[in-house]
């Protein structure tokens, strides 16, 4: 004769088995249908992602309507930088080939903030061989300019050394080559 206690234990074991089995059933129900068709992901996700509207453009798309900026940009040290890095997303400006809105224009202090996103020495994350970095306001002091100066007062934002080189050409002052 099985004791009442043993019966309870058997019931506990059975309920664990039922719960585990029930869990597997619930799991099977909750897994999306297309999951695992190609790999460990939902196959429908590919189609859904492909349907998303493309929001970013290339520099080429920008240059189509901005030939003046294109000319300077392509000759300067910033030629590899994407327009969208500084000017925001293409789709906020152009839709179906037509201009829909103006992109935000950085002014004053905002320009310095933007430049320092890459050119700040404090970041210490980029080799100076790759990107010239400066410390603020030390750089302004070294150049003997007002501390309120923003970067674009000396540097053309598309070709940072454009004005500097032109000034050197005029004055004939070229830095000594190492």
């Amino acid at each position: 004769m099985i004791s009442k206690h043993s019966v309870r234990i058997i019931l506990v074991v059975l309920s664990v088995v039922v719960m585990a089995g029930g869990g597997l059933l619930v799991k099977a129900q909750l897994i999306p249908k297309s999951f695992g068709l190609y790999g460990s992901y939902r196959a429908d996700a590919i189609e859904e992602e492909a349907q998303k509207v493309v929001r970013h453009g290339t520099n080429k798309s920008c240059f189509e309507c901005h030939p003046y900026e294109a000319k300077i940009h392509l000759q300067g040290d910033h030629k590899t930088i994407s327009c969208e890095f500084c000017h925001s997303t293409y789709a906020d400006h152009v839709s179906n080939g037509k201009r829909t809105a103006a992109l935000p224009v950085k002014k004053g202090e905002e320009i310095t903030t933007l430049c320092l996103r890459c050119h700040n020495t404090e970041i210490k994350a980029r080799s100076t061989i790759v990107i010239k970095t400066v410390g603020m306001p030390d750089h302004l002091k070294q150049q003997n300019v007002k501390l309120t100066h923003t970067c674009n007062q000396c540097h053309h934002v598309h070709a940072p050394l454009k004005y500097i080189n032109e000034a050197k050409k005029i004055t004939g002052l070229m830095e000594e080559k190492p």
Partner: protein, 404 residues
């Protein structure tokens, strides 16, 4: 000469003896796995160590551990409840963890952890319920209303306390604890494996990692149990069983010698093999981690307790002094394991993949993963333990101040 090359050569001649130019990749600047990921192996480790103490009594019949065996189980349970909390807080969107359980990817180490955690939670819950059944039956008889219903559920609706029933319970407990040991070892070994499996990080990527994590887990868990036992007993005005403390300390000594040896062996292996990233690891341990690794983890929190444990083993001490030193050693070892987790998790991320620079980590107070969050998370298991103590008595019935 190309100006860039010139600059590079200048840099090189400047610090020819120093390979580190502090050139950190932008994506390596921020330490992504911060204090919550330090807590995650720490909490699972505490579970593991506490469970080992319980297993020594219930499976290996170490009788002197009887006074703390039940408490260790509850302690392990309370901390296991919170083991995934730091992870979920770190990741954000905690509801998404169900996706991981629904469609586990075979190539995802974390998905495996979800299942191992669930199994260990199940096993530990049943061990607690079976161990406490006689107490729960007695309490259930006195309880009324809703509480009576709770006690009925917790005792599987069986109030049979006959010898035969208890013998059956005993067998089930032994079976479950026997099952629990590999589950607990896998649970924490797996945490070590998750780190050891990160190939991109030279300080983590070693097959020794699960072993180191496992032994240090036992150290932290046993230390925590010793401290909790001494404090809770003293606060309640009860006596502390010195025989039990002595057995705990002996077990702790064994595990700590293994843990510390493996920690040092790992450093030795790195240093002897001189693998591709060795200069970085060496620079890390002697640079940004010089204080937290060599001074704190090794000298203060490992060598000092080793000397103390040696004194406790070789010198005959009075029970009260032995208990006092046991408490001190346990505190230092709890800190040791925490610092070790810190040095592995955060220290390992201070190196940039450029192999030419280190970043710094600044813990914040009120961050999502800040110091306040750490304190709150560490308090939750104690709150759970307090609530559990209302239903599951920590100690067997006894007179206040009496001898067990």
């Amino acid at each position: 000469m190309n100006p860039a090359l010139y600059e590079a050569s200048q840099n090189l001649s400047h610090g020819a003896s120093m390979l580190i130019s502090n050139y950190v990749f932008p994506n390596d600047l921020h330490v992504h796995w911060s204090m919550m990921i330090v807590l995650y192996p720490y909490i699972t480790g505490l579970v593991d160590g506490a469970f080992i103490i319980a297993a020594l009594y219930y499976l290996f019949d170490v009788k002197s551990l009887k006074p703390i065996a039940r408490f260790s189980l509850l302690f392990a349970f309370a901390f296991l409840c919170c083991a995934t909390l730091p992870l979920l807080l770190h990741l954000g969107r905690p509801e998404r963890n169900f996706n991981m359980l629904l469609t586990p990817s075979p190539s995802s180490a974390m998905a495996g952890f979800g299942y191992i955690y669930a199994v260990s939670m199940g096993v530990l819950s049943f061990i607690v319920l079976f161990v406490y059944r006689p107490d729960l039956v007695e309490r259930g008889k006195k309880a009324k209303g809703f509480m009576k219903l709770i006690y009925r559920a917790l005792t599987f609706d069986s109030n049979d306390l006959s010898e035969k029933a208890l013998a059956l319970d005993g067998k089930i407990i032994r079976f479950l604890v026997g099952l629990g040991i590999p589950v607990a070892a896998v649970l924490h070994g797996y945490v070590g494996f998750i780190f050891g499996g990160v190939k991109a990080n030279p300080t983590w990527s070693t097959p020794l990692m699960p072993v180191i994590f496992l032994f240090s887990a036992c150290v932290s868990g046993i230390s925590a149990i010793i401290i909790a036992y001494i404090i809770i007993r003293k606060m309640g005005g009860y006596s502390v069983d010195s025989d039990c403390i002595r057995t705990c300390i002996k077990t702790l000594t064994g595990f700590f010698i293994l843990a510390f040896s493996f920690e040092m062996l790992e450093v030795f292996s790195h240093s002897y093999l001189k693998t591709g990233y060795h200069h970085m690891v060496e620079g890390l341990l002697n640079g940004p981690l010089a204080s937290s690794f060599w001074l704190w983890q090794v000298k203060i929190c490992s060598v000092v307790p080793l000397i103390l444990l040696g004194c406790m083993a070789f010198i005959t001490l009075k029970d009260s002094i032995y208990t006092f030193i046991a408490g001190i050693v346990s505190c230092i070892l709890l800190l040791q394991v925490f610092i070790m987790r810190w040095n592995v998790v955060i220290g390992g991320q201070l190196m940039s993949k450029s192999a030419r620079g280190y970043t710094v980590f600044h813990p914040e107070w009120f961050d999502k993963e800040g110091i306040v969050a750490v304190i709150i998370i560490m308090l939750i298991p104690f709150m759970i333990l307090f609530v559990l103590g209302k239903i599951f008595p920590f100690w067997a019935e006894e007179r206040k101040g009496g001898i067990q």
